[in-house]
């Protein structure tokens, strides 16, 4: 009787998640399993080809370029964003007008990418506003989106869009640090900078993991602006994984896509798990 009751109780929880899980199963899990299967089969005839698709994409120049760019982009912009957001959050924390400034930084998050793209085209055009401003200082501008600088525009727009998001995250971490610790330190004669180094930073370490992961995930969304501004084949310095996937999709290169998707998901999982391991050990 008790056993039976226990079983019923167990199943009740399952019933709550069942509708959601069925959808997840149909729309994500089963098709993903199919993608994994496809990554090991040939494009034309459905025969098993082993790791042939993986070998093919690793030798593909477009794939290598996209991987290189995506990697560079991630490695450059995430540290910049995280540090910049931390500085802003530390300044804004516990100050009177912090809320208003924070709202200003959050605003870009609400702007749809199409509006941003319109703006970017006017700003970074060869005869655009940025060059006009630079011209006032006697600096010769360039066609930003069609040169090497496109990469930095993308880094800039990523930071512009995500700064508020990361500031909110850091401020949440900051507000979790008890005021008492600071007071005790101040009584001991610690200055503001010392407090920051010895109290704030160590206490923010747990937040760093999640902020890194979330910033990493959001880094995939810059593709929206870059795609709207520069189209399918942008300057090669901003040819990202997303462009590659899009182009393969349009050419029906599903075998390559499947292999690349499996590879990317594995890399992402390893990255996230690794990060978690590193942080767990440090704590």
């Amino acid at each position: 009787m008790i056993q039976h009751h226990q079983n019923c109780k167990n199943l009740r929880g399952l019933i709550w998640i069942l509708p959601s899980f069925l959808g997840v199963l149909v729309f994500y899990l089963l098709p993903y399993a199919d993608v994994v299967r496809r990554s090991f089969t040939g494009a034309v005839e459905n025969s098993f080809v082993g790791l042939e698709n993986y070998r093919a994409i690793l030798g593909n120049t477009a794939f290598c370029l996209a991987v290189k760019n995506t990697f560079l982009f991630t490695v450059i912009c995430i540290p910049i964003l995280i540090v910049a957001a931390l500085v802003c959050a530390a300044v804004l924390d516990r100050s009177k007008y912090g809320g208003i400034v924070k709202s200003a930084f959050l605003m870009p998050m609400a702007l749809p990418a199409v509006s941003v793209a319109l703006m970017w085209r006017l700003l970074f055009h060869g005869q655009g506003m940025v060059n006009q401003c630079l011209g006032n200082f006697g600096i010769q501008g360039c066609d930003w989106m069609n040169g090497k600088n496109a990469f930095w525009i993308l880094v800039g727009s990523y930071i512009w869009k995500n700064l508020g998001y990361d500031i909110v995250l850091w401020m949440a971490g900051l507000s979790g640090i008890s005021e008492n610790i600071y007071e005790a330190a101040r009584v001991d004669g610690a200055g503001e900078w010392q407090c920051f180094l010895k109290i704030t930073l160590p206490n923010l370490k747990p937040s760093l993991y999640t902020i890194t992961v979330l910033s990493f995930l959001n880094s995939f969304k810059v593709f929206r602006e870059s795609y709207l501004v520069a189209g399918d084949y942008p300057h090669e310095s901003i040819y990202m994984m997303q462009h590659l996937f899009n182009n393969w999709f349009r050419n029906f290169s599903f075998d390559k896509m499947a292999a690349a998707a499996v590879m990317e998901s594995v890399v992402m999982l390893v990255f996230i798990l690794l990060l978690q391991k590193v942080w767990d050990r440090k704590e």
Binding site: K9, R12, G13, L14, I15, W16, P19, S20, F21, G23, V24, V26, L29, P31, Y32, V35, C88, S95, A104, P108, M109, A110, L111, P112, A113, V114, S115, V116, L118, M119, Q127, G128, M129, Q132, Y165, V168, A172, I181, A185, D188, G189, A190, E192, W193, Q194, K198, I199, P206, T210, I211, L214, R224, L228, M241, N246, M257, A261, E264, S265, M268
Partner: protein, 316 residues
Amino acid sequence: MLSHVMIGESKKHRGIGIKNKENIWHRVWEKLCRMHLVRKLLWGVLAVLAVVVLYPVFFLISGSFMGDDELVRYLGAVITGKEGYVDVPLLPYYPTFSHFVEIFLDSPEFFVMFWNSIKITFGVLAGQLLVGIMAAWGFAKYQFPWKKGFFLIYMILMLLPFQVLMLSDYLVLDQLKLTDSLWGIILPGIFSTFPVFIVYRFFTEIPDSLIESAKLDGAREWQLFWHIALPIGSSGIIASMVLGFLEYWSLIEQPMTFLKDKSLFPLSIFLPDITAVSKSGMAFAASVITFFPAILVFLGGQDYLEQGIMAGAVKE
């Protein structure tokens, strides 16, 4: 906390012992900090930065109220390809509603797109309200076999970017004959695991004792959900809706990939041509109409938005 006090203590003792080793720059910095000069300086930099960050929003709004001739005067270099550079406009000299009127009266296709955006956004949000919240409740307050495994799957799915799932999505939509239909965008959106995760965070904070006592009073399962979970977790639900609205209102990849029929396009992928004088004003106005609902949701729900962002960040 104790350890930090102790760190401060030992630091002080060390400071007395080897005072000379104290970095001179630190002392200068300390002094500056104490004078609140650096803080003020940083504040100034931040304020300037905030204006820079906001300028695009301001610019788009201001541009949408400018007449054609004014736009050409400022932006002629990009729009018509004439010599010189684009000027940096601030406020329109002769504000006009003509572009908005033009859009509302003369472009039925714009209405269709607006309507498509509404259908996608609210379709997804309504679905998420239904299945997502239920799942979040199940995860937060029930024990069942393989719960950890289920939750791990949900978390991983939340973290994967669209491109990884793009082919999977397409394959299933193709099977279900949903490509080139708004349902092909809405259905996968409904089963996104992100809102489950956010609402789950809020539900776990409901004390178990409350649920237990309600059960003793004879409350049924659905009553617990209706009278405890929904009201107490409401801020979490709103937070996930605000985040969801911003996400689906500016959805790019899915409609771009799965929709071929232009009459199904949402506003979020409508990129008007600005290289014609007659159209540039409309482009501005269209852009303002596109971001207006998002800004409204943002301003109205900023607190929830922040709570939602934070809920996504609490480490599992």
